[in-house]
Symmetry: C2
Subunit: 636 residues, 2 copies
C-alpha cells in the first residue's frame, strides 16, 4: 500500500452516515485525534458544523462524485446536493460524493449524508490592513473572466455540513492520486466485480415495445451480426410505471416465454423501474409502514435502510430474477430541483429516523443494496441514477438525461475519482458523425450502453451506419478480457478501471478530456470533428490502430477511429469478438506487443464469470507463452 | 382596502429577518394566534422549522420573487436561494422572495432571510391502504411528460425554513391577486417613487471607454435625435474594479469636467460598482471591522446592517453624488452557485451576528438602503442584482447576465408579484429582428435600459436600424407621464406599474407571456417572429397603433410593432417625446380616447419630479378639459 488512511472524529457525528451502510473496509483505518491535526479548524453552530483546511496556491481539487461540468474544483463552491440534470459547476449531481483528492498527495472523505458544501479556496478577512494594489487594472468585458476565481496563497478550504454537530473525516495520504483514490475505494470495501457478460454491449429497447417487438429486436441484433449481451426493457413492461407496479403489463402477455426465447438467443434481460411504489404493486399495503411521509407520483417511498422494506422489495424482485431477469435499471432515485421538484422533500421524515436530505444521499446506494440482495450470488452490471459515498462495491453504473458530449466525456474522466462508474450512453444522434463519436466514447467506457428508449428503430439505421457500428461493438468485445482484468483490480485493489490521467500521471493535472481505460490512454474526438490535440505523458506511446510511435507531448491527430494509445512495453490481450458471452464462452486471445515487451506481463482473470465468490485464478502471460486454460485460448 | 393582512407568529422567529430592516407598513397588521388557524401545521426539528398548508386541486401559485423560468409554481419545489444565472425552475433567483399569491384569494409571506423551501403541492403517505389504479397506463417517451407533477386533491404545501426555530407568517386575504400583491407592497412601506428622468431611456457605455468616448456617445445621442436621459459607466471608471476601489481611474482624468459637460447636455450619470471593497478604496482600513469573515476577490464584504458600515460607505458615495452622479448600478450582490462560487459562503460570519446565508438574502436590500442614504432626498432609478423580501420601496431595478428572450419576458410578467422591478435589458442582438423585439420589450418595462457594456458601437449601428430604434425610444418618452402616474400608484397604493394579467383579470391565470404596463395590455412578439396569438380578457379592447377594436378572446396578430391594447373607456395621456427630462420640462399632452370616454378620467401627477417628499398634486382630467398646470400642457 502506498497510501495511509486516518479517521479523525470531530464533535458528535450523526447516526445516518454512508459508512453505517457500507461493507467492511479492505484496508487498515488508523484513528487520529483532532488535536494532532492543528491545521484543521472545527466549530459547531445552529447551522451545523464547519471545518477549514489550508490550501497552497498550487492545490488542485478533484472528485465530489459524478461531476459533469467541472474537473478541477479549485476556487469553486461545490454543494454536494443530489440532483438530476445539473447544468452548471455547482456541485449538484446525480451522484455527489463528499470526497476529494488533491494533486498534493492527500485526499479527504467526510462521512456525511448531508448536502455538504465545500468552498474550495477562499481568502479570509484577517483584520489586518492591506497595502493597496498598485498600477492600473485592465477592464474586462467577458463574464467568464470577471468571475474567474482569484485566490491568494493564503486561502482555505471551508467545509460546511448542515444540521450535523460533528463528522468523521477520513484523511488519506498517498504517493499518487491513484493510490489515494484506490484507498478510498478500499475503505468502501473495494470496487464491484461485474459478470463477464455485463461488459458486453447493452441495448435498451423502445419504451413502447410489446414483447414481439423486443423479440424482433433480439433477432435483428443476431442477424445483423451486431454483438449484444443484454436487452433492457423500459417503463412499458410495468402495468403502471409512474409510480411503478412491478407487475408485467398486458403488452407482455407471454413474458416468461419471451424471457426463455431471449435466453436461448444468448441475451440477458434488464428491467427498468424506480422505487416509488404504485398502489397496484402486490406489496403496496405491506410497504406502507416502511415508507416515508411523502408520496411521489402517488407512490410510496420505501425506506430501504429498514430490513422490513429491504426484505419485501428484494424478495419480490427475487421472483423476477428467478424467472430470468438479470438486472434492473434503477431510475429516479436522485433529486429534482432542476426538473420541477417531483421527489420527496428534504424535510420528509422516514420511519428509520432519517430525514429526506439524508435519504436522498443514501437512496441510490441502499436501493442498489436491496436489488443486489434480490440477485443473490448472481452478478450483474446494471444502471442507477443515484449513488452516494462508499458505493464502489455496487455493480451499478450511473447515467443521465443530459446529453451534451462534453458533459458525458467529463463524466467519464471524473467518475473514477469517487468510486463511481458512468455510462455516456448513446441515445439519438443528430448525424452520422454524432452517432459514431458518441458510440466510440460509450464503447470505451465502463458500460457499453445504447439506450433507445424513445427510438423505435436502432438509431444507426437512419444514417446507414450499421457497418461502422458493428466495427465499434466488435472492438468492445475484443477488449472484454482486458476490461475484466481491470475490474478485477478495481475489486481487489480499488484501482478504477476508467479514470482521469492525473491518477497515474501527475503532470496531467490539467487534462480533463482524456482518460485511462484499463491502462490505455483514450482521447475521444467530439461529434462533427475529424481530429483533436492529444497530450501524451512522458515516455513512448503507440497508436492502437496504426501502431505509430509517439513521444510524450502534444500531438495533432486526425482519424475516424477513437484515438487510443498503448504504453511502450504493453502486452495487450485482444479477443476475437463474440456476439455475446455464454457461461462456457472461450475467448481466442491474441497477445499484441507494443514496443519492447521482453519484460512485459499480461494478466487475465479466469473464473465462472457470473457468480460472486466463484473460484478465481489470475493468469500471467509473457510473450510467446500459450498455456492452456478454460476461458482463454492464446493464439500462436 | 380590499385586502386584510394578519401576522401569525410560530415558535421563536429569528433576529435577522427582512421586516427588521424594512420601512413601516402602510396598512394595518392584525395579529392572529396559530391556534386560530388549525389548517396550518408547525413543527421544529434540528433542521429548522416546517409548516404545511392545505391546497385545493385548483390552487395556482405565483410569486417567489424574480423567477425567470416558471410562472405558476404549483407542483414545483421552490428553493428561495439567492443566485446569479439560474437556468431552471428551481426557485434559485437573483432576487428570491418568500412570498406567494394564489388564484384563490390569499397570499402568504414568510418573514425569513433563510433559503426557505416551498414544496408547492405534495401528497402524504396517510398510512391507509389504497385501491389499485385500474386499467392500463400509457407509456410515455418524453421526460417533460414523465416529470409532470401529478397531485391529487388532498395535497399540501410544505414550507421549510432551515436553522430557524420559528417564523412570522403574514397571511393576506384579498378580492383579487392585485389586492393581495398591493397589500404585500404596503407591508413593505409602498413602492418606490422614481424621478421623472429615471423613466426615460438609459444607455450603459462600453466598459473600455475613456472619458472622451463617453462624451462622444452623449453627443451621438443628441445628434442622432435618440432620446436618452441617463448614461451609465461600467467597471472601467474605477481604478480597480474586481474588487472595487470606488476611485476614478486614470481613464477619466477630468471626470468632474466630463460630469459637468454631460449635465449640460441633459444627461444623468450612473456608476457601476459592487460592494466588495478593494484595498485601494479610501475607506478600506476603516471598513475592516464592519466586514464579514471572508473576502471576495480580495475585497472586504461590508456588513451594511451595521450603522458604521452604512455610514462609511454612504458618506463616501455622497461625495460622488455631490460631484454630479445620479445613481449606481449595484452588481454582484447576489450569489454564485451557478457561476463558480465567487461570493462569500453561507457559513461566513458577519460582525452583526448574521451568517452568510442571511446576509445573501439581505445584502441587496441593505446595499440599496445604503446608497439611498448617500443620495439623500435626490431620487434615482438605478440597477441592482439582488433584492429580497419587502424591497418595494427601493428605487432599484433588477437585471441579469442571462439573455434568453423568454426568460426576460417571464421576468417582466413575474416581478410584479413580489414588489420587484425588472429590466429586460437590450445588450447585443443577433439580427435586426432580435434588436427590435428586445428593445420593444425593454421600452415597455419598468426600466428602458440598453446595456452596451461590451459593445464599442451602439448595438443598432451594425443593423442600420437607427430610425426604428429612434421610433421606439420616442414612444417610451410619450408614455412617461402615464408611467409616472403608475409609479405614483405603486408608491401610494402598492399597485405594481408592471404586472401579470392575472393580477387584474382572474381568467388570465394561465397567461404567462402578456402583462400590464400601467393598465395597458402588452403582448410582446419574440425575436424572428412576425406575430403571435394574443389573449384578451373579456370586454372591448383597442389596438394602440391601429385603433382596431377587439373583443375578449384569442386573436392572431401580425405586426412590426409591439402588440399593445387599451381598454374601452380609457383616456390615455400621450406626451410629445422630449430628448430627456429637465427639472423644468413641460410635457405637451394629447388625451387620446379609446372607445366611449364620456365617464373616463385621466390622472397625471405633478411634482418637482426629482425630490423625495416634494409637493405633489394629482390632476384629474376629463375629455375636453385643458387645465393649466406647470408640468403638463394639454393639447386641444
Amino acid at each position: 500500500m502506498k497510501a495511509t488512511l486516518c479517521k479523525i472524529t470531530y464533535g458528535t457525528p450523526e447516526d445516518f452516515v454512508p459508512s453505517r451502510f457500507a461493507p467492511s473496509p479492505k484496508l487498515p483505518v488508523r484513528t487520529l485525534s483532532p488535536d494532532s491535526v492543528p491545521e484543521i479548524t472545527f466549530s459547531v453552530s445552529l447551522r451545523g458544523c464547519r471545518l477549514t483546511l489550508p490550501l497552497t496556491a498550487q492545490t488542485k481539487i478533484y472528485g465530489f462524485g459524478l461531476q459533469l461540468n467541472a474537473f478541477d474544483h479549485r476556487g469553486n463552491k461545490v454543494t454536494c446536493r443530489v440532483n438530476a440534470d445539473p447544468r452548471s459547476a455547482s456541485g449538484d449531481s446525480h451522484a455527489p460524493v463528499p470526497f476529494f483528492v488533491t494533486n498534493e498527495g492527500w485526499g479527504l472523505y467526510a462521512d456525511t449524508a448531508r448536502s455538504a458544501v465545500f468552498q474550495c479556496g477562499s481568502d479570509l478577512n484577517t483584520g489586518r490592513s492591506s497595502l493597496p494594489e498598485t498600477g492600473e487594472t485592465a477592464v474586462m468585458t467577458d463574464t467568464a473572466e470577471l468571475y474567474r476565481a482569484r485566490t491568494s496563497e493564503a486561502s482555505v478550504l471551508t467545509l460546511e455540513i448542515p444540521f450535523a454537530s460533528g463528522v468523521d473525516l477520513y484523511f488519506i495520504k498517498g504517493d499518487t492520486v491513484l493510490d489515494i483514490v484506490s484507498a478510498y475505494n478500499l475503505l468502501a470495501g473495494g470496487g464491484c466485480m461485474p459478470p463477464l457478460w455485463g461488459l458486453g454491449n447493452f441495448y435498451r429497447c423502445c419504451g413502447q415495445f410489446r414483447e414481439e417487438q423486443v423479440l424482433e429486436t433480439a433477432d435483428d441484433f443476431r442477424s445483423l451480426d451486431l454483438p449484444c449481451d443484454t436487452l433492457g426493457l423500459e417503463p412499458g413492461w410495468h402495468s403502471h410505471s409512474y409510480s411503478c407496479s412491478f407487475v408485467w403489463s398486458e403488452r407482455f402477455p407471454h413474458h416468461k416465454a419471451m424471457l426463455d426465447r431471449l435466453a436461448a438467443l444468448g441475451f440477458k434481460v434488464n428491467l427498468w423501474e424506480h422505487a416509488f411504489t404504485n398502489p397496484a404493486a402486490p406489496f403496496y399495503d405491506k410497504m406502507i409502514p416502511f415508507s416515508g411521509e411523502y408520496l411521489v407520483w402517488n407512490g410510496l417511498v420505501p425506506d430501504f435502510s429498514l430490513p422490513g422494506a429491504e426484505e419485501l422489495f428484494s424478495s419480490y424482485h427475487k421472483t423476477l430474477c428467478d424467472e430470468g431477469v438479470s438486472g434492473f435499471k434503477l431510475d429516479e432515485c436522485d433529486g429534482s430541483d432542476f426538473t420541477g421538484g417531483w421527489s420527496f422533500p428534504d424535510c420528509a421524515r422516514f420511519p428509520s429516523g432519517m430525514d429526506g436530505e439524508q435519504y436522498h444521499h443514501l437512496f441510490g446506494t441502499l436501493y442498489a443494496r436491496t436489488i443486489k440482495k434480490a440477485l443473490g450470488s448472481r452478478r450483474t452490471l446494471s444502471e442507477i441514477r443515484n449513488l452516494g459515498a462508499l458505493a464502489a462495491p455496487y455493480p451499478f453504473v450511473l447515467y443521465s438525461d443530459l446529453y451534451d458530449f462534453g458533459n458525458f466525456l467529463t463524466g467519464v474522466v471524473n467518475s473514477g475519482f469517487s468510486g463511481l462508474l458512468w455510462a455516456p450512453e448513446l441515445r439519438h444522434a443528430a448525424s452520422k458523425s454524432d452517432l459514431i463519436r458518441r458510440l466510440q466514447l460509450t464503447a470505451f467506457s465502463a458500460h457499453s450502453l445504447i439506450n433507445a428508449w424513445y427510438m423505435e428503430k436502432m438509431p444507426w439505421l437512419e444514417f446507414d451506419a450499421t457497418d461502422e457500428v458493428r466495427r465499434i461493438l466488435r472492438l468492445r468485445m475484443s477488449f472484454l478480457p482486458y476490461l475484466y482484468t481491470a475490474f478485477y483490480d478495481y475489486h481487489t485493489e480499488g484501482k478504477p478501471p476508467v479514470r482521469a490521467l492525473v491518477c497515474d500521471y501527475p503532470d496531467a493535472d490539467g487534462i480533463s478530456d482524456e482518460y485511462l481505460f484499463g491502462d490505455l490512454l483514450v482521447a475521444p474526438i467530439a461529434p462533427e470533428q475529424d481530429g483533436r490535440e492529444v497530450w501524451l505523458p512522458d515516455g513512448v506511446w503507440y497508436g492502437f490502430f496504426d501502431g505509430r510511435r509517439y513521444e510524450g507531448g502534444v500531438h495533432s491527430v486526425s482519424t475516424n477511429d477513437i484515438p487510443l494509445y498503448v504504453k511502450e512495453g504493453t502486452l495487450l490481450p485482444l479477443a476475437d469478438p463474440v456476439s455475446h458471452v455464454d457461461p462456457d464462452t472461450v475467448f481466442d486471445i491474441t497477445l499484441l506487443p507494443f514496443g519492447d515487451c521482453s519484460d512485459a506481463v499480461c494478466r487475465l482473470i479466469e473464473d465462472d464469470g457470473m457468480t460472486d465468490g466463484a473460484d478465481c485464478r489470475v493468469i500471467t502471460l509473457r510473450q510467446g507463452e500459450h498455456p492452456a486454460c478454460k476461458r482463454y485460448r492464446i493464439k500462436p
